[in-house]
């Protein structure tokens, strides 16, 4: 079976803890061409969209769920929203948890909205990443 509207509400187990390192933050800021000094000082914070590195772990659960039959090479990321309660910073150990918010079927394609909550080890919410994906199922020949 493929993904249906009834999959809304499906929640995946928390991902393995992710350790935010100064080296990864620096690498990410450099990839954005961003020389903001806050990304390179003694205790750097991460660029806001560094949250994507962590939510990608949770997306792997979604795209790897055999029941949904989502194939990454037929997925287009259509929109992305972040809500930040505080910055991610080096030394943080964070956990991502994904829930499917909504599934809409349109002309045979699927629009999947999912929220990833990124929390610290005390379950304090740091950031929420909400994404919508457009998935075109494989056309059977």
């Amino acid at each position: 079976m493929a993904i249906t509207e009834a999959h809304a509400g499906r929640r995946y187990p928390p991902c393995d803890p992710y350790h935010v390192s100064a080296a990864k933050v620096t690498e990410f800021a450099a990839a954005l061409g961003d020389d903001n000094p806050r990304y390179r000082d003694e205790s750097p914070i991460a660029p806001p969209t560094f949250a994507a590195v962590i939510s990608a772990q949770a997306w792997d659960q979604l795209f790897g769920d055999p029941e949904l039959e989502l194939s990454l090479d037929r997925v287009v990321h259509t929109d992305q929203r972040y809500t930040f309660h505080r910055s991610l910073r080096s030394g943080d150990v964070v956990i991502a948890t994904l829930v499917i918010d909504r599934v809409r079927i349109r002309a045979g394609s699927e629009l999947v909205s999912a929220t990833v909550d990124i929390s610290d080890r005390d379950a304090e919410l740091i950031c929420t990443a909400q994404a919508t994906f457009f998935h075109t199922p494989e056309v059977s020949a």
Binding site: K24, I45, P48, A52, D73, Q80
Partner: protein, 150 residues
């Protein structure tokens, strides 16, 4: 903490624009840094198989670069409280030394207390590649209402 921008902030205030150049090298760097190794971002073979004209930039690279306009302006990136973009058009990156230029423009769309909403546009080859892009920043102090006195 001290806000770096307060004076002169009003709806319509333009932020300094930013021009970024996306090359294949930049895409490879972003792939490694973000761990997004979807081959449509480095291989023409896979991009074409996915129905694209050529290799395209990661939407998140465009999104992350666009936010630099805002964080450059406020100084402290931790002031960003929310950020939304719609990916409306792919940024095609040719396999040459120059890559492609993306221009980011932004202006203040709303002010409520210390919360400032910035509207961002991203233009590549004359076309908008992001839709409805908005970031909200908390300047941490109340932005004074500026009455125009004549």
């Amino acid at each position: 903490m001290k806000a770096t921008v307060v004076e002169g902030v009003e709806v319509g205030t333009q932020l300094p624009s930013l021009v970024a150049r996306f090359t294949r090298e930049r895409l490879v760097r972003y792939a490694g840094a973000s761990t997004d190794f979807n081959p449509i971002h480095y291989s023409e073979h896979f991009a074409k198989r996915a129905g694209l004209p050529d290799v395209i930039a990661h939407g998140m690279l465009t999104m992350g670069t666009a936010l630099r306009v805002v964080t450059n302006w406020v100084g402290d990136p931790s002031r960003v409280t929310s950020y939304f973009v719609r990916f409306t058009r792919p940024v095609v990156v040719p396999d040459d030394a120059d890559g492609v230029e993306v221009q980011f423009n932004a202006s203040v769309a709303a002010i409520e207390g210390s919360l400032v909403t910035v509207s961002i546009e991203a233009i590549c080859n004359g076309q908008k590649v992001l839709g409805a892009a908005r970031a909200e920043v908390d300047l941490g102090i109340r932005v004074p209402h500026r009455d125009h006195e004549y």
